[in-house]
């Protein structure tokens, strides 16, 4: 059983079919890239999988469990983390708090214990702070732990959002154009982070236009065009696929 299964997913917007019957299976531990021309439905697919958009047809299974059209917070708590194309942080929380908030919802639900701050909760909090500091160090933001996220530069916020997604130790990580508008040197760092996660056995799905990133790190590439899957395979075969060249690479 694949970790993530998408069956015949369809999403219409007014006048357009953004996703048109896509099937996709991602095995545990895979690193898959999703590419395709602008408007081919990549981000829409992400949004349907993570509950941000309601699919018009089709099913989404995560760990064999039907999560079709579940609310975003439910999908997140099942272990699916995602980042957004536009950098997305909580601007008035500190960098550290930005990370903490991503973990706490996975740990405790009862209102009263939160209000009373039980001893168990305090221990969990201390562990979370420690984990957050380690992740900040990983993305080179240790010095910024107490800085308001809104004061960080674009690239730093992008790295913070990336670290936040890792906070709950998600089983599946969906990254939406992590390299867009990021300086090439920073992109190299990001590639290393992703490969390291993959090395730890995490499953990653990447939407990206930067072919240096896609071709260097993916095990498998899925190509969408006009909301349909037109090709799928190793980076090398995709590079030579006539339909993909026609629809995507050009020349």
């Amino acid at each position: 059983m694949a970790l993530l299964e998408v069956h015949g997913l369809v999403k219409h917007f007014i006048g357009v079919t953004a996703v048109d019957g896509v099937d996709l299976a991602v095995e545990r531990g895979e690193l898959v890239s999703l590419i395709g021309p602008n408007g081919s439905g990549k981000t829409t697919l992400f949004n349907c999988v993570t509950g941000y958009l309601a699919a018009d047809a089709g099913r989404v299974l995560f760990r064999g469990r039907d999560v079709t059209n579940a609310a975003p917070h439910r999908v997140a708590r099942l272990g699916v983390a995602r980042t957004f194309q536009q950098v997305s942080v909580f601007p008035r929380l500190s960098a550290l708090e930005n990370l903490l908030v991503f973990l706490q919802q996975h740990q405790e639900e009862r209102l009263l214990s939160r209000l009373l701050r039980t001893r168990r909760l305090r221990r969990l909090e201390a562990e979370a702070v420690e984990r957050a500091h380690r992740l900040l160090e990983l993305v080179g933001l240790s010095g910024k732990a107490d800085a308001g996220a809104g004061t960080l530069s674009y690239g730093q916020r992008k790295l913070l959002a990336f670290a936040a997604a890792l906070m709950p130790d998600p089983e599946l990580l969906l990254l939406d154009e992590p390299a867009a508008a990021v300086n090439p040197t920073m992109i190299n760092q990001m590639k290393e982070h992703i490969l390291r996660l993959h090395g730890q056995g995490k499953t990653v799905v990447l939407v990206e236009h930067n072919m240096d990133v896609v071709m260097d790190i993916s095990q498998r590439v899925v190509v969408l065009d006009h909301g349909q899957k037109i090709a799928e395979g190793s980076p090398q075969t995709i590079r030579r696929d006539a339909r993909v060249i026609e629809a995507y690479f050009g020349r």
Binding site: Y52, H73, A76, F84, Q104, Q105, R114, L115, L121
Partner: protein, 316 residues
């Protein structure tokens, strides 16, 4: 240092009735009356700030919940003959239940529409208070609401009859609200509220259900407002429709936005300044509103975070 300062302040606040008696013996009753009002408004403003400052929903419906609480308590005490604590709890619950019921549809509205919808609710509530004469007696007001008696039926009872007694009761209520406010707005709960306020879609990705937290803050705030309403009518012995008009929203906005949105200290400072000061200056209500409006305009335009940020800037 900080602890010592807070301790000293608490001592002064608790012993205020004696201090007032010693310092301004001839104005004693009036000053204590202003202090009761200040404590009640501070509690009300803190509850309002839970919604406006911490989950970032600009609700304008707070007078409605205050009114529901006030009328519930007034009716339970006069018509049903409930004891004070029963009426207080009943009032808080009634306001909370109303908030939970209207909150579900209202939070389907976003931003501006939510503000307009809540303002509409406040207006509807005030129209009902004025016109549902069979229950509220309309402009004739509900009168002769008994003074609070603390205690359970059958057990020992403590009747609050003196002004210092009312003051300590209001102060105790404020202290309870301060504790609740701190509990809700810091640590993990506070972080979840702030995450919803700052970036709703991202909050979803963090596993937070935005609607749940918004409703939680809204309902708790309304429950507190209802409780304050009950204390208010038991202190004044009378409840009229004018107590829950848009002017109350303006008062609360002034306290919260001029004091400091989302800040315990700011809201408390705002409540003291904007409840006690106009009383002491004995301003006519119209002039008070003109001055409030102008101040609000100036501070909101010049410094969006209120007195809090002005104070911080001045301290630098």
């Amino acid at each position: 240092m900080r602890r010592a300062a807070i301790g000293a302040l608490a001592a002064v606040v608790v012993s205020a009735p004696w201090l007032v008696a010693a310092l301004v013996p001839r104005q004693q009753r009036y000053v204590l009356h202003v202090l009761v009002f200040t404590a009640l408004f501070a509690a009300l403003a803190l509850s309002y700030d839970l919604v406006v400052g911490h989950v970032g929903s600009l609700s304008l419906a707070h007078p409605a919940f205050f009114g529901v609480g006030a009328y519930t308590a007034a009716l339970l005490a006069t018509r049903a003959g409930w004891p004070f604590l029963g009426a207080l709890i009943g009032a808080a619950l009634a306001a909370g239940v109303v908030a939970a019921l209207v909150g579900v549809p209202l939070f389907r509205l976003t931003e501006h529409a939510f503000a307009v919808g809540t303002l509409g609710l406040a207006l509807v509530a005030s129209v009902v208070a004025n016109n549902w004469v069979e229950v509220t007696r309309g402009p004739l007001c509900i009168t002769e609401i008994p003074k609070p008696v603390l205690g359970v039926p059958g057990g020992p009872a403590l009747a609050i009859t003196t002004l210092p007694g009312h003051y300590w009761l209001a102060l105790a209520a404020l202290a309870a609200v301060v504790l609740l406010y701190r509990g809700l707005t810091t640590f993990r709960l506070g972080r979840a509220f702030h995450a919803v306020r700052d970036n709703e879609p991202l909050a979803g990705a963090a596993g937070i259900d935005p609607l749940k937290y918004r409703l939680l803050a809204f309902t708790i705030a309304a429950t507190v407002a209802g409780g304050v309403g009950a204390l208010y009518v038991h202190y004044l012995s009378v409840m009229c429709p004018e107590e829950m008009t848009v002017a109350l929203t303006v008062n609360l906005l002034v306290i919260v936005f001029l004091g400091g949105v989302g800040s315990l200290r700011g809201v408390l400072v705002g409540a003291v300044l904007f409840t006690a000061l106009p009383e002491v200056l004995r301003l006519a209500p119209t002039w008070r509103l003109v001055i409030y409006g102008t101040l609000l305009l100036l501070v909101v335009v010049r410094s969006p975070e209120g007195l809090e940020s002005l104070l911080r800037r001045a301290a630098r």
